[in-house]
Structures are given as C-alpha cells and as structure tokens.
C-alpha cells in the first residue's frame, strides 16, 4: 500500500478530532480554555507535518516535526487532566463515551506518537501526492484553522 494513504488517514483522524472539538464547543456550548486551544494547535501541527510529506515527499524531518508537536500536545493534555483530576464532577461537565474531552485528546496524541513511531520504523521515501489531493487536504486544514481562529477571537480576542 502506498505510504501516502497512511498520511492521509492520519490527517483525516486529526481533522476529525479538531472538528469534533469545534462541534462540541458550538453545539453543546462548552467554553474552551487556554490548554484546549493549545491542544488543538498541537493537533493541527501534527497534521501539518504529515501534510508536508504529501506535498514535498516523505522525509524524516517532517515526521520529527509531527513527533515534537504530538509530544507538546500530550504534555498539554496530561497537564489538563492533572489540573482537573481532584475537582468534583459538576452537573454541566461534558463527557463523551465516559471520558472528558482532554482525556480523548490525550488518547489521540498517544495514538499519534505510536503511529508516527511505526511510520519512522518502516521509513521509506515516497513521491509527493497529486496536486489535486494536495489542494483538497490543504483546503480542509485551512478551513479548520479559520474556524479555530474564529473560536479564539470569539472567546478571547487577541489576548494571550
């Protein structure tokens, strides 16, 4: 199987995770905190590293960028879990399949690290994907980023 299929699958699942976060935010009115925004940024950076593999061809340095981003996201989600582990569960606490959203985020980053390690283990150079697919994937990433920017501007404005 062509290696780019795995890159496409990885980007799809990461975009799905960010999309679900945005859906929960807007339809269940869950206000995201700073760490949530940082986890989304990390997820999109993992997807960006995979996207470079589609555009410029497969190189280890692109995996390294994704790996570092996944590590950052994993740290953020672990910290987020640690901050809330002793807090009592409120009536408005949002759960998805018995887990909170940052726990799902932790699982996504953990799975990303495992998958990236497997891709690096069986490293092989491949040619870039066709221009049409590059544009489609880049467009999806761009739209998600625009939604994320809108969400930040709505909740926090330009503050850090």
């Amino acid at each position: 199987m062509n290696r780019n299929v795995f890159h496409l699958l990885g980007i799809f699942f990461l975009c799905l995770a960010v999309g679900c976060g945005l859906f929960i935010e807007f339809f269940y009115l869950q206000k995201p905190c700073s760490l949530c925004f940082l986890q989304r940024a990390s997820m999109l950076m993992v997807a960006l590293g995979l996207y470079w593999n589609l555009v410029y061809g497969t190189y280890a340095r692109y995996y390294a960028f994704s790996f570092l981003s996944a590590l950052l996201g994993l740290s953020c989600s672990l910290r987020h879990m640690g901050l809330n582990v002793c807090k009592p569960i409120g009536v408005d606490t949002f759960f998805f399949c018995s887990y909170r959203i940052y726990t799902w985020s932790f699982l996504v980053f953990f799975a990303s690290l495992v998958c990236l390690s497997c891709l690096l283990f069986f490293y092989k150079q491949t040619a870039p994907i066709s221009r049409k697919w590059q544009h489609i994937v880049g467009g999806v990433l761009g739209v998600l980023l625009v939604f994320c920017i809108t969400s930040i501007l709505y909740h926090r404005g330009f503050s850090f």
Binding site: L35, F37, L38, A41, W52, H80, G138, G139
Partner: protein, 53 residues
C-alpha cells in the same frame, strides 16, 4: 493565542502553493508556531496562576 493559529495557517498556505522556494519560510512559520505554543504552555499550564485555566 490567535497568532499561533495565524502562523500555522501561513505555513499551510505556503505549503499549499507547493513551491520549493518558500519551504524555508514554511519552516520558519511552523517553528515560530511551535515555540509560541511551548511558551504559552509553560505560561498558562505550568505557571502557579492556575486559576486562569
């Protein structure tokens, strides 16, 4: 916070164009976003002012 996403958007846009000439700019944007994210994680996540979270 919004600047991180703008930097990632810039990196996606310039790689979307697919030109090798701008690959250094793409790297610069992506690494700036990465460093800012690490910085904000330390500032928001690890600072003692956890009440902000």
């Amino acid at each position: 916070m919004v600047f991180i996403y703008l930097l990632i958007l810039g990196a996606v846009f310039f790689s979307w164009k697919g030109k090798k000439k701008v690959s250094k700019l793409v790297w610069l944007l992506a690494f700036a976003a990465g460093f800012l994210t690490w910085g904000l994680f330390i500032y928001h996540g690890l600072s003692p002012l956890e009440i902000k979270i």
